[in-house]
């Protein structure tokens, strides 16, 4: 199993993790606060520069594919469950338990709007998964100084994944070389036959855990007195600029929410969105600010070198 994150050494990968984390959180918050379908489409589009500059189109594609499946799921739920809306397109006969089900135009439009919201959210998450080194992510959380043990635990878990993987592989080989048929029989037998590997993997791993606890103890883990942190993520002045850029996105969404710009009422009646000058300027501003960290990221190297 390979990490979803691969260091592709692009300007997006070089952006400070804090900047990317804030940006992702802002986009997620934005996608929840806004429900105007056009603005959501624009929000989604403004995540694409990250994907292109970060050279993660293929991996990102598989996340988007997943979104399509989930969208169908969401559409079905909304159409079945939401009996709101005034334009009834289809009315089912009396069904047992469920009663009459009305499928309304509003619920279909709402489903489309929600699919776009999902697309924007998952695109942001994909960028987080694919371009931030999990180790840097954890170190960043550590800057908050509170959840030290949680971060340490997660980081040890990640560190051991490659060798647990080798263990798993060796155990599988060992079973095979001893004539054990793993992919045989029906559904239940197959699970049962494969399951035999888990207790052995657990036993070997518990042995590992004793040894690493021993090593931690020997290096002063749990000593009394203050614990300090050796943070190896370098932060330059340019990084602060980019972090500020991401933070401003948060501010933008907050203002929009307070002023109720970008909220659209799907129910009970869909109404056309009035494209006014102020609407267009908000939309433009949104795209520009959401895409700006990615678009300006190639400049970072140039500025840092000066």
């Amino acid at each position: 199993m390979k990490l979803a994150y691969q260091d592709k050494k692009t300007p997006v990968h070089r952006l400070h993790p804090v900047c990317k984390i804030i940006w992702v959180l802002a986009v997620i918050a934005g996608s929840i606060l806004i429900n105007d379908p056009i603005l959501l489409v624009l929000l989604f589009i403004s995540t694409i520069p990250f994907v292109i500059i970060g050279k993660i189109v293929k991996e990102w594609g598989s996340f988007v594919k997943l979104t399509l499946w989930l969208s169908i799921f969401i559409a079905i739920i909304n159409m079945l469950a939401s009996q709101h809306g005034s334009h009834i397109l289809y009315s089912s006969p009396m069904l047992p338990i469920l009663g009459t089900i009305n499928i309304t135009l509003e619920s279909i439009i709402f489903s489309i709007g929600m699919s776009i919201r999902l697309l924007a959210t998952i695109s942001a998450f994909a960028i987080l998964t694919l371009t931030i080194n999990p180790d840097d992510l954890l170190q960043t959380i550590l800057l908050l100084k509170i959840p030290y043990r949680t971060v340490l635990t997660t980081s040890i878990a990640i560190r051991f994944i490659p060798c647990l993987f080798t263990d798993l592989d060796t155990l599988q080989s060992s079973l095979q070389t001893r004539g054990y048929q793993m992919a045989e029989g029906g559904f239940l037998t197959r699970i049962k036959r494969r399951a035999i590997i888990i207790p052995s993997l657990l036993s070997n791993s518990l042995e590992r855990s004793i040894q690493s606890a021993e090593a931690m103890e020997s290096r002063g883990f749990g000593s009394k007195g203050g614990k300090t942190f050796y943070n190896v993520i370098q932060t330059t002045r340019t990084d602060y600029f980019f972090i500020a850029l991401s933070l401003s996105l948060f501010a933008l969404f907050a203002i929009m929410w307070i002023l109720r710009i970008g909220t659209y009422e799907y129910y009970p009646n869909i109404t056309p969105i009035a494209i006014t000058i102020s609407y267009v300027s908000v939309a433009l501003f949104l795209v520009l600010s959401a895409a700006s960290p990615a678009i300006f990221s190639p400049l970072k190297k140039v500025i840092d070198l000066d």
Binding site: D167, Q176, A215, R219, T228
Partner: protein
């Protein structure tokens, strides 16, 4: 200064004492080697120095341990970190961060040192240990030797006065082991660090240590100069495995020739020179040329075999090899030379990218590994990966059940294996609670119970003490007497020189030498055993240039 006074210790879950009446005093800047068979208590002794015993493991203790005037038994390990640095056997499990720099910083963070000091100390230690080039590398991409050096750096950064290393090389390949040993020597010489090193293979270090401590069944049986021990305890020698060159002086002594005791080839050549130049030696002993056998008795054959891993690395290039019934083949070569890959192709775990592998005439691509298991047995390095069952008995019958043996055959075979491998006393024991040697026997028994025609062992002797190695070899000899064929992957040249027959040397995915052990191992710079290196200048005096072992040289002695 470390002072053990009358220390006796027993683990909570054990009925035997792990240490009994240990009294020992170690001076500052001494370089101490501790050796002894598995389970003799040497690891426990190490763990007393930084308080892991008893505060981490628990048990019953009596006596005292004082380390730099600290009562080590009553001080928590975490508070000993600044005084004692401890490096463990497995390079994998003692590292907990994801990259080298963060790993080294971990201990400093725990002690709460300010950042400016951390930066300085990390810089220094990276240079001292010589891993500056690795500082940003992910730990999972490092070799075993590099990981072990990182572990040493990560304890050294706390500026301990004492460095304790518990079998730091037993999981490493020879190159990694050599690097670690050189580093430890340098730390002792240049920084004056007290070093306590526990090792099975003592030939690499014996000449550089100040003191040797030998332990056996929870007691110290020798404590003194490294050379003195060889004179003292001849009956203990086979248990620990002394360097062949030293062994030669012991053998000569039995023949009435008293020599000084050499520890290195250089010393050996000086000391033995008069004896080897002496015309007391018989004509060259005969070598055994590799006979080409009848093709019908061929068990496994590979033809023009190529293998490429999914990531694109080509590890085997155009391998053609025949394995005949009854052979004992040692597969040697540097790390990543393709030995294990070849072995895995020979039992069908991997399928050739190009070319063909046939086992008993069956093309491996046409069948599953599970079906080949009947003909080819495979023993992994770590016996733990063989253990799936709850009792030793179930473990041994596991494979026979998989292969559909009749219950009568299973019963017969089980009794035979239990007896042969001396496992009757732990027939119903939980396999994982056994000792290393016992586990190894269970693993071997479980594979041999199914009576494979070909047995492949992947570095089975790594980390084993000399006694266990010898036992293992005896089992293999027994197996071959009954018509078995063995392929042994190993780095242990001395072992192969003693027990091997045909040797296949691999390099960069190719077979570069294939023949009788005398042809392949003699006169090779990197892969020749100690005795062979010793005798090279003396061949003009009538000593055969392909002598590999002490036994062979002594045969030529009139």
């Amino acid at each position: 200064m470390i002072e053990f006074k009358d220390l006796t210790f027993k683990y909570a879950d054990s009925s035997n004492t792990a240490l009994s009446n240990i009294s020992l005093s170690i001076n500052d800047s001494e370089f101490i080697l501790i050796t002894g068979p598995s389970g003799c208590g040497k690891s426990t002794l190490c763990r007393c120095i930084n308080g892991l015993v008893p505060s981490f493991y628990g048990g019953e203790i009596c006596g005292s341990v004082e380390v730099q005037n600290i009562d080590a038994l009553r001080t928590p390990t975490k508070d000993m970190a600044k005084t004692v640095g401890m490096v463990f056997q497995d390079p994998e499990n003692q590292l907990i961060a994801t990259d080298v720099e963060r790993e080294i910083a971990f201990g400093l963070e725990n002690l709460g040192l300010p950042k400016t000091i951390m930066v300085k100390r990390i810089e220094e230690v990276l240079d001292t240990v010589g891993i500056d080039h690795l500082r940003h590398r992910q730990l999972s991409t490092l070799s075993g030797g590099e990981k072990q050096k990182t572990a040493i750096a990560s304890v050294l950064v706390l500026h301990p006065e004492i460095l304790v290393l518990d079998e730091p090389t037993s999981e490493l390949d020879p190159k990694g082991a050599e690097e670690v040993i050189q580093l430890v020597k340098r730390l002792n010489e240049e920084l004056g660090l007290t070093v306590i090193l526990v090792e099975h293979r003592i030939d690499r270090v014996l000449q550089s240590v100040d003191r040797l401590i030998v332990m056996d069944s929870s007691e110290i049986t020798y404590d003194g100069k490294p050379r003195g021990w060889i004179n003292l305890a001849e009956n203990k020698l086979p248990l620990v495995g002394i360097p062949p060159i030293t062994h030669l002086s012991v053998e000569l002594k039995q023949k009435g020739i008293d020599t000084k005791i050499p520890l290195t080839i250089k010393e050996g050549r000086q000391i033995f020179s008069p004896i080897l130049k002496d015309n007391k030696w018989k004509k060259p002993i005969q070598t055994h040329p590799h006979k080409s056998k009848n093709i019908t008795s061929c068990i496994a054959k590979a033809r023009k075999l190529w293998y490429k891993y999914p990531d694109g690395a080509v590890v085997l290039k155009d391998i053609t090899i025949d394995i005949f019934k009854g052979e004992f083949i040692a597969l040697i070569g540097r790390n990543a030379s393709g030995k294990t890959t070849l072995a895995k192709l020979l039992n069908g775990l991997l399928k050739p990218s190009k070319g063909k592998v046939e086992i008993n005439g069956i093309d491996t691509t046409r069948t599953k590994v599970e079906n080949l298991a009947k003909c080819v047995g495979y023993v992994f390095q770590n016996p733990n990966v063989h253990l799936f069952a709850d009792t030793v008995e179930e473990e041994i019958t596991f494979m026979m059940n998989n292969l559909g043996f009749s219950s009568k055959m299973i019963e017969e075979s089980l009794d035979k294996e239990l007896k042969q491998f001396n496992l009757e006393y732990c027939r119903y024991a939980y396999p994982r609670s056994l000792s290393t040697g016992e586990k190894q026997r269970v693993a071997l028994a479980s594979v041999l119970a199914a009576k494979p025609q070909l047995l492949i062992l992947d570095e089975p002797t790594r980390g084993l003490d000399y006694g266990l190695k010898k036992n293992l070899m005896n089992y293999l000899i027994e197996y071959r007497k009954n018509g078995g064929t063995v392929i042994l992957i190993s780095h242990d040249i001395e072992l192969i020189a003693e027990f091997g027959e045909r040797v296949v040397l691999m390099s960069e995915g190719k077979i570069v030498a294939d023949g009788n052990k005398h042809q392949v191992l003699a006169n090779s710079l990197h892969f020749s055993p100690q005795i062979n290196r010793l005798i090279q200048p003396f061949t003009k005096y009538g000593i055969s240039s392909d002598i590999l072992t002490v036994e062979e040289i002594m045969q030529g002695f009139k």
